[in-house]
């Protein structure tokens, strides 16, 4: 195990205060709106951080904002001047993530660093410290353990806090950045005793054999009736993509007047009809079942395949190292027509083609 410390639960507010005094922006899950569902937002005065309920939307906006200005342009006589070589980011702590969310950020990073590295995401990640908390409870939509993760997984976190009893967290220092944060909170962290190393973790059963999903998907591609049946109820609403910690498709939009403007990167989704609509009017994914197939194939076939090629090595059978899914279950919870992902992946694993 990595270097560890012990932190009292009651020291959390003091830790946050110290981080703020140090100029860190803190983003944490806090209740929002009439329903009070937690939402990742800048820490407000109330400081009601909700670590119990899962947020409806993942914390990916911490690295990949819903809207991001990537360049500005203006007319200067007959010239067009482009300004956009500087990325402005503030040192930020993403606080109160779950291990699946932290792992999702890792995958998001590898997607954006493929080919020409994305400077915006890279700069943001460099300025961000991820503080995750191990899960002590899971619900039936959770399936991290089926896709290579786990309730006490450290991947993607800089610091991982795990409950060891009602009053203490075991703090695992996963990266040098995590270590810096511990140093900022000097005085609050104590050495972890031998007896304080056992994390209280949720039991998350393996829900389906992922190796079978990965093996069977390529042959299912052309079985239209299969995808139609899976997505008969799909409204094409894209909620699944927008709440997902890994979905990373975006749309570039120019907002401009006659003199100047800016180019914005906005979240988008392959579930929308417009996503693949050509200027000619032709749409290669003309019906919702094809869009649903794309969603599943991208996460469980194309991404692992690309990861394999990038590494240039033959993968271990059923390798989960670059799946487009961390099993957080948000898509299943948010889907207005209950298109449960565990159920659909199980059907894929059990298909006999």
């Amino acid at each position: 195990m990595s270097e560890t410390r012990s932190l009292r639960k009651q020291s959390i507010p003091s830790l946050l205060e110290k981080l703020e005094q140090n100029g860190q922006r803190i983003i944490a899950p806090q209740p929002a709106g009439p329903s009070g569902t937690p939402w990742f937002t800048d820490l407000d005065r109330e400081r009601h951080i909700d670590l119990e309920q899962m947020t409806a939307v993942s914390p990916k906006s911490g690295l990949f904002p819903v809207v991001e200005e990537i360049l500005r342009f203006r007319k200067d006589g007959k010239q067009v001047v482009i300004e956009g070589d500087k990325v402005k980011v503030q040192p930020t702590v993403l606080f109160g993530l779950r291990p699946c969310d932290a792992r999702g950020l890792r995958i998001l990073e590898s997607i954006f660093q493929e080919g020409e590295p994305d400077v915006f995401l890279r700069e943001r990640r460099a300025a961000t410290t991820v503080v995750a908390f191990s899960c002590t409870a899971a619900d039936p939509d959770c399936f991290c353990t089926s896709v290579g993760g786990g309730p006490g997984d450290t991947e993607g976190s800089d610091l991982l806090l795990s409950a060891i009893d009602d009053d203490h967290f075991l703090v695992e220092i996963v990266t040098p950045k995590g270590k810096e944060l511990v140093e900022l909170g000097a005085g609050l962290f104590e050495p972890a005793k031998e007896s304080e190393q056992t994390k209280v973790l949720a039991a998350v059963p393996v829900r389906f054999p992922i190796a079978d999903v990965l093996t069977k998907l390529p042959a299912l591609f052309n079985l239209e009736s299969f995808w139609q049946e899976q997505s008969l109820a799909c409204l094409g609403c894209s909620t699944c993509a927008f709440v997902c910690p890994i979905c990373s498709c975006f749309d570039l939009e120019d907002e401009a007047d006659l003199k100047c403007g800016s180019r914005l990167r906005c979240w988008d989704s392959c579930g929308q009809r417009l996503f693949t609509l050509h200027a000619s009017g032709h749409n290669p994914r003309s019906v919702q079942s094809q869009r649903w197939r794309q969603r599943v194939m991208h996460k469980f076939s194309y991404l692992p395949e690309r990861g394999r090629k990038a590494r240039g090595s033959a993968p271990a059978e059923g390798s989960t190292s670059l799946l487009g899914c961390v099993g957080c279950g948000r898509c299943s919870r948010s889907c207005p027509v209950d298109m449960n992902l565990i159920e659909r992946l199980t059907a894929i694993a059990e298909s006999d083609l």
Partner: protein
Amino acid sequence: MAETVRRTSGQTVVNDMEALRQRARELLDAGTVQVIIGYANGSNRRVRPFFARRPEDLERLILDDRCVLNLAVYLRKPEVKALGKAAVIATPPLLRSILQLAAENHYQESEAVFLALDSAGNVLELSSAEQIAGVLGSLPGSTGQDACVPSADRMPALSAGSTDRQARFAFWKQEFERCIRCYACRAACPMCYCEQCLVDSNQPQWIPVAAHSIGNLEWHISRAMHLAGRCVNCGACSEACPAGIPLNLVNQFLADRIQQEFGQKAGTSAKLDYALSVFSGSDRETFIK
């Protein structure tokens, strides 16, 4: 819990569900319809839309107060249309949508069959707008606030009667900040049937696509205005919103204003002119005369 039907009195009746299934079975057997669109128990205490094509599927049909998603959206989905003619298990909000769709020439006579329960537990088989209009008012749950839907009663500051415009604006500004522009509200709305939505047009770009404050405000104002006098307050938009924004309250506000100003209400008749585009000599405004 599975086999319950909500009544205005709050009682639940298991036999009524059996009667609905029986009528659905007859329709499938006779070949009158090829699919029954209804609700079934889904995963983890949720309900889901269900498409029964074989008599044995019908056992899974349920109807209770969790069934808020408006099934009318499926009447326009190509994959569902391809299954053949449909019978739809109908709730009052769904029937209101059908009436409004008929008023806008987006529901053709006998396009589908609607199976509803009256207050005595009898199954009504409806397929024309006239039939629906004739019975709608007497159906259980057809009056008052529909359960599950965020209600202005719970947020007095937001009701149409409140004059505190600043408080209302502050509330909505804060709510719309959470909008991520997934357009689930649009996808779940039976009245949002446009082949090309105004937000999908980029020449010209009517409203910003980006999910920043102005973009979100413009989208929600546009959505509300396009539904003014057309929304039947089924609540499917709020149900679908992953950010939990009580969107239907905006629509409800406008519906109340339309009723005050023009004396009409969407979803009550298949012969309803669009309040905001029809000129009448008796209009109170004088600017056009």
